[in-house]
Amino acid sequence: MPEAAMNHPRGLDHDRFPFRTIREQTNFQLPASGRVALNLIVVLQRFHIDAKPAFPFPGMIDRPYPDVGNATQREVGLRSGFWRICELIDDLNIPTTFVVERDALPLLKGEDILREARHEIVAGGQHAALLHTSAMTEDGERRIIRECRDALTDALSRPVIGWRSPSCAQSSSTLDFLADEGFVYCGDFNNDDRPYALTTRGVNRLIAMPMNHFSSDLHGIVTMKQPTQLYYDAVKKGTRWILGRKNQAPVILPLVIHPWISGVPHRIDHLRNLLKEMLAFDGLTTSNSRELAECFKPAV
């Protein structure tokens, strides 16, 4: 039986962040008076053929072991799919956020684009199927977080301050551990188009950055099975719609793509056309997630 009505407490049913609507003022301004900031987020995943996830997740390798077909098709995202995306990023000069899983690093040696200062590197966990859950031990989860950050920092010779969990899955303590390890922002929450402060151990020590899975190519094209052209058209129309509402607060438009999906030959030119058209929109700026996190000044 539910609790008695009228006793429902005000606010959300957790203390990680308070409720806030898109209509409320917040200390977030886009550079150059932009009204929509496109954050192109490229997720570089490593799918181990023998990895068993704690629960099913979108894009997983799901056929009986050894699922050679799916495993190699996912690896397109670290090879030709990735290269096509990189070419596009260079051609259109888009500051990009790369979410990099630790175990993808050995396949990304010599990819200097990941060292360029105009792009941002976000720690993506250890590998695609290593999902964070509350069944993990504290030491085990802390070690994954720390080792991912250290491996990226060492390999790419740059600080890493952002985190996005494989499949946005967290344990009850992930946020606390991220803050303990010195991370500045986390992209696991799908509930806002603006940054907000996350509370860990009673104080605001992390920023939630929009990296919405439910507007990604993984959700739209793979899980929902939408035709490529229609999915990208919908993103374009939505961006234009938001830009057309002059009274709206500035927002981030996170476009989360996975090179094994958007980087294949029959999709890459659709993505190129989408981005080219969007870059011409009045009021649209492009920024990576570090720059956007710096545009937000949370109350202490």
Binding site: H8, R10, F189, P227, V235, K237
Partner: protein, 303 residues
């Protein structure tokens, strides 16, 4: 026992085209009503014996945070469009929203939207409740909404479309006037005797944004076309006898950037037709009970 009769209680199936003729106000062909589902999803819901609330181990932040998007962002975009197109309909409301997030519910109350019961939480299902427990849950839901808006709750849609064999009897026992859980027809239907004169108001499941865009995975463009095809057909049928287009929405779906423009396309399409009655579920139920059923019973024309 004939469960179909007991659980689904609309008036016995009529012969083709013997339903009473509906003449909506001002000779409208279509009664159009919008039903945003304003829902609260718990991060740590209680277990249900029939269906888990979340597909992942708790805390399922991927899915919970998506629902929260609706209340933080999506609903405000929807409200902008409802204002622009002068739409006032009926809110399908998890009553706990009145306590947790009153600013969201208040935005609809202040615009004179009808608030009807959609249970207490969308993460607490009716499955497995005894008839008395079910009565108590729905009574509390209605009471919380009435306390918030000062008006009697008239109708009900089951949270997450979860039911028991007792559910419709419970609605009658609560004195509710209409149900939205029966998907038989594109016109209102009376419930059979013993259900307190309740009527069924169409809440068309295939127009539901969640059903079309998530369960079926349709692209926005195709969903918009589905709506137009559905509406245009019922607009034509409405020349003979009035029809209903009920549009179920979930701001965490339709309010995302890649779909919000679809809602504008839908509302613009509706407003480009002259003979449309933009209204609420309660108005449809009242009008049907008062002007259609009573006249039919008193011997008015049948089509």
């Amino acid at each position: 026992m004939n469960w179909a009769q007991e659980i689904w209680p609309p008036y016995p199936r009529p012969a083709r085209r013997t339903l009473p003729v509906i003449n909506w106000p001002n000779n409208a062909r279509v009664a159009f009503w919008v039903a945003p589902n304003i829902e609260f999803y718990e991060l740590h819901p209680p277990a249900n014996p029939v269906r888990p609330a979340w597909p992942r181990p708790l805390p399922d932040i991927l899915n919970t945070s998506w629902r929260d998007y609706g209340n933080r962002v999506g609903v405000w975009r929807c409200l902008d469009l409802f204002d622009q197109y002068d739409i006032v309909g009926s809110v399908s409301l998890n009553s706990a929203m009145c306590g947790h997030l009153p600013e969201v519910v208040g935005a609809f109350r202040d615009r004179n939207w009808e608030l009807f019961s959609h249970g207490i939480y969308n993460t607490q299902y009716l499955y497995g409740l005894s008839p008395d427990q079910e009565f108590e849950v729905l009574r509390q839901s209605c009471e919380e909404i009435e306390r918030f808006c000062g008006k009697k709750v008239r109708g009900f849609l089951s949270p997450a479309l979860t039911y028991n064999e007792s559910t419709f009897a419970t609605l009658a026992r609560l004195g509710l006037r209409y149900t939205l859980d029966l998907f038989h027809e594109d016109v209102p239907l009376p419930l059979k005797d013993g259900y307190n004169g309740m009527v069924s108001v169409p809440y068309q499941v295939e127009l539901n944004d969640f059903h079309a865009l998530v369960a079926q995975g349709m692209a926005g463009e195709l969903y918009l076309q589905r709506f137009k095809d559905h509406f245009d057909r019922l607009y034509r049928e409405g020349e003979r006898s009035g029809t209903v287009v009920g549009l179920p929405l979930h701001p965490y779906v339709i309010g995302m950037p890649q779909y919000i423009w679809v809602l504008e396309g839908i509302l613009a399409h509706v407003r480009s037709h002259r003979d449309v009655w933009v209204t609420s579920a309660a108005e449809i139920a009242d009008y049907y009970a008062t002007n259609v059923l009573k006249q039919a019973h008193s011997g008015a024309d049948h089509a």
